[in-house]
């Protein structure tokens, strides 16, 4: 299995504040890597660095073996291959659901309007949102908005999908409808890196779980090991707190 994504000793700081220390990570094709850790541990920053929304201060990020952290690289071309879904959905409020989904296929990937519509219709009907196609995002529930956001990312047929706490802004009832999409994608063999606080879900989809604390990966391994038998004291503390908050 070849690695879709590889991180080598990545470091990122905002001024004096070092957010990521020496992060190394390999994500083989068709696998899901789950990042867990408290807020502020660096999960979101790591995802934003992979998506080249932030530049790194040391190390290297490789996509399909090609270094993408090189400053001379065409960031737009890289982002065409890996898309990101955000905690706050970030749908375009002035566009309908269908327009949200077809924008990138048409403008970025040069698809004709008909082709893009076809892809969008297929995805929307698969995830039960076809009837919302002509609605504006503010008419949708949070769960529906986030599902549209995921579909919007899928419509460009990405090599790698980044999901940044996609359920954190949702109430518990809506969480499930979003997670079930991600499970489906895992079933399709989509390569993913995701940050989440949903430990039960992490157990189901993760091929590898990484526990981040203060910008370093303290512990990593298969979900059933890291989540069920954490070795590190800090991992144990974190999981205990999550458990107390009723999220396990």
């Amino acid at each position: 299995m070849s690695n879709v994504l590889e991180l080598r000793n990545v470091r990122k700081s905002f001024g004096e504040n070092v957010v990521l220390h020496d992060i190394s990570l390999a994500v083989p094709e068709h696998t899901a890597t789950v990042l867990i850790g408290a807020s502020g541990s660096g999960k979101s920053t790591l995802l934003r660095c992979i998506n080249l929304l932030e530049s790194i201060d040391d190390g290297a990020i490789l996509l399909d073996g090609k270094e993408i952290s090189d400053p001379g690289i065409d960031g737009d071309a890289v982002r065409r291959k890996l898309t990101m879904v955000f905690q706050s959905f970030n749908l375009f409020p002035h566009k309908t659901v269908l327009e949200n989904v077809t924008l990138a296929p048409i403008k970025v990937h040069g698809k004709s309007k008909e082709e893009a519509m076809e892809i969008a219709t297929l995805l929307l009907s698969r995830f039960d949102l076809l009837e919302k196609a002509d609605q504006y995002p503010d008419r949708l529930s949070g769960g529906q908005q986030q599902r549209v956001a995921i579909i919007r990312s899928l419509a460009v047929n990405p090599r790698l999908l980044l999901l940044d706490e996609v359920t954190s802004a949702l109430d518990p009832v809506l969480v499930n409808e979003v997670l079930s999409i991600v499970r489906d994608l895992k079933g399709d063999g989509m390569t993913m890196v995701l940050a989440t606080h949903e430990m039960g879900f992490a157990t189901q989809v993760a091929d590898e779980v990484c526990f981040l604390e203060s910008g370093t990966i303290l512990e990593r391994g298969p979900a059933h090991e890291v989540l069920a038998r954490p070795q590190h004291q800090r991992t144990q503390d974190f999981l205990k707190r999550v458990h107390e908050a009723g999220r396990l």
């Binding site: 990101m84 955000f86 970030n90 409020p93 924008l103 990937h109 008419r139």
Partner: protein, 291 residues
């Protein structure tokens, strides 16, 4: 929000307490109406008394509100206001285009456009800071003095240029504030889908920004219409100038009042519409209720 009908609800009749509350609310409303009417009556009659009993009232009525003279001049003054309208329409099209370019230049991060960004900033600083009347005088009398070949000496054209120069700076700043008000997460979402800087601006940021600044832009449009009256100083026969010609001949100032009324006929519907647009924008944003 979606409305969901509830077919299983039992028929509802207001409770005793609710009926009581409604009565109290009605009484309160009645009291408010009485107070408002009384206060309006007192203020208006006081003002009227002061005006009518003032020593110069008779003179003012003859020199400012001469109905028959008003009828005589209304024709030429209305012809003048058509000039104001024409100038406003032509200018606003040019302003919209130039202001958009200025706003985009001022918000661009492209390295190749750095000198243009600098020039746009200087431009906006200058024309926002110089009184419109001065710009009109400088362009109106300065440009012809240059004796450039092919340059028009038409005061109407020069006046329009001056107005466009100044208002482009104002409007550019309004559009720029709209662009800056769009949350960075919208850009992040667009970029992460692979859209370039320019595509993000064109398809995601700008449409939202423009929608947001429509009410202040309408406001500027009304100001623009009024400020076209300033080009009369160059000798353009607009409503102000037409009124002035009459007034200086007869020493009766009724033509000015006529011009003012004609401006109001156009601007009042516009300002009402602006208020409405503003209300629509805010009620859409504050769907959580207005406290």
């Amino acid at each position: 929000m979606e409305k969901r009908g509830n077919e299983h609800a039992s028929p509802w009749t207001p409770s005793e307490r609710e009926l009581e509350r409604r009565q109290i609310r009605r009484a309160l409303t009645k009291r408010k109406i009485v107070i408002a009417s009384l206060s309006s009556l007192i203020v208006i009659s006081l003002l009227a008394t002061v005006v009518v009993t003032s020593p110069g009232f008779q003179v003012v009525r003859q020199t400012f509100f001469d109905f028959h003279y008003g009828q005589v001049v209304i024709k030429t003054v209305s012809r003048g206001i058509l000039v104001n309208l024409l100038l406003t329409i032509v200018a606003s099209i040019l302003i919209g285009f130039i202001a958009l370019v200025l706003a985009l230049l001022r918000t661009t991060k492209s390295a190749a456009l750095v000198p243009f960004r600098f020039l746009a900033t200087v431009y906006v600083d200058i024309f926002r800071g110089v009184p419109l009347l001065l710009v009109i005088l400088l362009v109106g009398f300065g440009v012809p003095a240059l004796r450039l070949t092919g340059m028009t000496n038409s005061v109407l054209v020069l006046g329009t240029i001056a107005v466009v120069l100044t208002y482009s700076a104002y409007v550019a700043e309004v559009i720029r504030s709209g662009i800056l008000s769009i949350h960075p997460s919208q850009r992040a979402a667009a970029r992460s889908l692979g859209l370039s800087q320019a595509q993000t601006m064109r398809h995601v940021v700008l449409p939202q920004a423009i929608r947001r600044v429509i009410p202040p832009l309408l406001n500027d449009f009304v100001s623009l219409l009024k400020d076209t009256g300033l080009v009369s100083i160059l000798g353009v026969t607009d409503a102000v100038r037409a009124a002035q010609i009459h007034a200086s001949r007869t020493f009766n100032y009724t033509p000015y009042v006529v011009a003012a009324l004609l401006f109001l006929i156009i601007t009042i519907p516009l300002t009402r519409y602006t208020d409405k647009a503003l209300h629509r924008t805010y009620s859409a944003q504050n769907a959580q209720g207005e406290a």
